[in-house]
Amino acid sequence: MWDVKEYLIATNPAEAVEMMAAGAGKGRYLAGGTDLLLEKPACDFVVDISRAQMSEVAVSPEGDLFVGAAASLEYLANDQAVRDFAGGAISRMAAWCCNRPVRTTATVGGNLCHAMPSADMAPVFMALDATCFVMGQDEQESLLLTDFFVGPRQTVLEGRLLVGLALPAEAAHWHCAGHKLTRSAEDISLVQVAASLGVQDGVVENVRIVLGAVAPVPMRSQLAENMVAGLKIAEVTPDILDDAALIAAGEAAPISDHRASAEYRRDMVRVLTRRMLDEVLDRARKGDQS
């Protein structure tokens, strides 16, 4: 059993932060709890944020998408606003995480704050230029998700609360695809690659290639992105894509573990990068977002 002394339930983010500051000893935020309950990290008290008004999704008048950190993966998989955003890439990835009963309670914030290199939701959110909203006792901060991860199981939070994420309105029109390489049908990522592509007047205005599970933190492969950025769609040849994929593989810094070797992971970055770029380009050419 998880040896905690107190279980507190917050009704809003500010109260959660206050409870965390006031609690005796070491506290942990719990949203879904699907990681905490099985890892049972040493702590004295828990602040439950599942009812802290952080579980919603909203679209601003400008078209920015706000996702509460305590929104469940199942919610993201089904919410219409999320499904409509960038062709539904986030919904598809959310629906591919863990299994149905776990998705009911597991949250996007939990997935990100847990900060596993293989965090399933990080690459698509990064590919869509997500910003994080963080709340401490006396301050609020917003930062790019790209800057959120510090190392394996380490984030910039240091006890602060991740309240939610925002995706910029322009990303809603990007073509985005993510793919997990897995050992069996339901699995965490051995390698994940997400790519997004924004096209304006036939020119690649935005391209993001994000690699998961192949570095201490989910990472963008900017050198690979540079191969494609600014080109006209018609100029993007298979050779360029092959090169971009090779460069992404070179930028990755995978480790060998019981799930896969570094060598295999690196080559799979190449394969998946090529496939994801193909997929988003194909959609861009067809003008089809999903």
Binding site: M1, D3, N99, L181, R183, S184, A185, E186, D187, I188, L190, H258, R259, A260, S261, Y264, D267, M268, V271
Partner: protein, 789 residues
Amino acid sequence: MSPVKKAPPAPHRIMGTPPPAHDHEVVGKNVTKIDAFKLARGEPAYTDDFTRPDMLFAKVLRSPHAHARILKVDASAALALPGVVDVIWHQDVKPILHTRAGQSYPEASPYDTVILPEKARFIGDRVAVVAAESLAIAEKALDLIEVQYEELPAITDMHEALTRTDVLIHEVPDPRGIGEGGRTNVAARIDRQVGDVDAALARCDLVVERTYHLPRVQASHIEPHVAVAWLDEDQRLMVRCSTQVPFHLRRVLARVLEMPEARIRVIKPRVGGGFGDKQEMVLEDLVSVLALRTGRCVRLEFTRAEELIAARYRHPQVITMTTGVMKDGTMLANRMCVLADTGAYGSHALTVQGNTGQKVLPMYPLPNIHFKVDTVYTNNPNSGAFRGYGAPQGCFALECHMDEVARELGMDRLELRKKNHIRLGDTDPLSVKLGDNKPGLVRIVRSTGLDECIRRGCEAIGWDKKQEPSQPHLKRGLGMALAMQGSGIAGIDWGAATVKMNDDGSVNLLVGATDIGQGSDTVLAQLCAEELGLECAQVVVLSSDTDVTPFDVGAYASSTTYVSGGAVVKAAAKLREQIAAILAQHWDCEAEDIDFAKGQAVSPNGQSMTMQEVALHCMYEAMMQPMASASHVSDDSPPPFAAQFADVEVDPETGQTFLRKFVSAVDCGTVIHPLMAEGQIEGAVAQGIGYALFEEVLLDREGRVLNPRFLDYKIATALDIPAMETILVETDEPSGPYGAKAVGEVPIDGPAPAIINAICDALDGTRIYQIPATGERVWRALDEKRKDH
């Protein structure tokens, strides 16, 4: 052997027996599985669903070292924790050598185990056990126990274990000489030959030799091992547990606790899956010791991590196959050399590996066969029994090898098999050479549907016309494998049954045979009902309780339908004869002329009674309890056969395999319950798919399990299972009850070789010699091939 009542053949028998006189009433019908509704409703039926108010919770402290003497255990801090009732370690328990393997006495496994060892032999070995008022307290107490270890050099590589004697994992000789403890690290050896393989190989046009690597996999029944023990009001030891072998367990408990069997009662409630992993005393001795010491009820349940570290695995093996063949495809000689890792203890070390050859090589009954085994101790966690019991390893090697031989020979792989496989009337050449710790009995094939299995399987998979890949970047392939197994262990496995009639004409069927979810209670009830002309629902089955039910070896070796079923048929026939004798007096006719069918007894003169009237007459007029017991053993172990086929697509860039269709055509003799027989096959295939593609317990060099969780020890989910087609090819086995043979194990043998053969077909000959065929292994094999060219 006394004859079992022979049933008329079912309509689809392929053997030349006359058409059926009448259909069976119960046998061959999909009656409702007798425990299904209560399980569907989630009623408390399993070991952990029974609680007692005075219950203590036990937890095991496990060794962090692969090989270390346990010099001292200081439990004072743990015992000082409120709620901790007892802590035991090796000084508290008498070291009585035994094997935890649940096998017939005398067990064919070395006596190399004590309840709590003075030397830890793997990371996870038992060091101390706590009993506390709650699980949380017991868990806390583990952290407070201080242990002094003297670390010893460890051996975790099986090749090293075979040659090194400077480190002995077992220093005490096995009193019965099965293992080589005290001298070497060999737990069991086999070396048997039929004919002269070397001489034959010298004559052959082609000799093919390959080596195959088999992983460590775990049964992963969803209900963990769990046991509850307490003393009843007579101070007898009650053990309720999730076991496949209640009677063997009672016997081993009696030995290690130095108590007479009469003082011990083992009760098996519903069991949430076993698959061989519960054919072993994995934790029952611990709760028993603690119950005896504390006088309290004690419960111990493994966590999933403990299941993956401290239960049992299918033995990892390295198998080298050498086959000699003539240009026309006539095979002359087979040699199978097996190196196997039993881990720290030798339960099932001899017999599992014996099966690797014995259950597999006879598929091609060549005049020259050599079968050699070295099973070694290592400082790795334990191997043991797991469905198939050595045969999946052997079948993988042999059936992959058949494809390799055919490819080198330039012959069609199916034709090579058809030319050489075992046929009706053939003698299994290895059967006499390989008994289970005693001389074997001759096995002659008296029923086989193998040709029909091949024909119908080919048809179902579309063997003649491989389909196009579903996407351009994928490659498609077909593969197949043949498999055979046994039905019980000839001359060793036996079981008994008692049938007694109640006032309403229903009967109680008491069997030691152990239903662990496979549905044996239902199958045995069907056999009993058929014999007595009752409906299945009129048979109330109790399995198994050592105080109440007669002996049975338990649920293993594909024995229950064939062996225990034989006992049920005999006991029911005896009961019928008793009733017939009484009715014959009453009706003044010959007993054998009375017919029992559809719940009635009918005399030749047209008199009839319902079974309720029969029961009332017997009990209140004749003053006699209709009741009979019978035992059954078979000198034969007729093989069920299977032909299994896989259709796969492989992504050559990622190495991933996608299984599109799997077909099993299985001859298990007469099918007693078609849906449940299919269920046995489908479940076995799912486990076989995992073996082929993603299941593997990974150890680091120190022998530490790296993936003790379902997140990383992958078993098949609903999405990993392809379209599955299961074909039952009925035959009539003369020695089986109503013509039945076994079905539980044979279908787990073929999936891995069929799938790997299909991958090889898809990749134009690139073969994986080590399973599971993970994406990375296939990717690597393709990479090596590219480098070669």
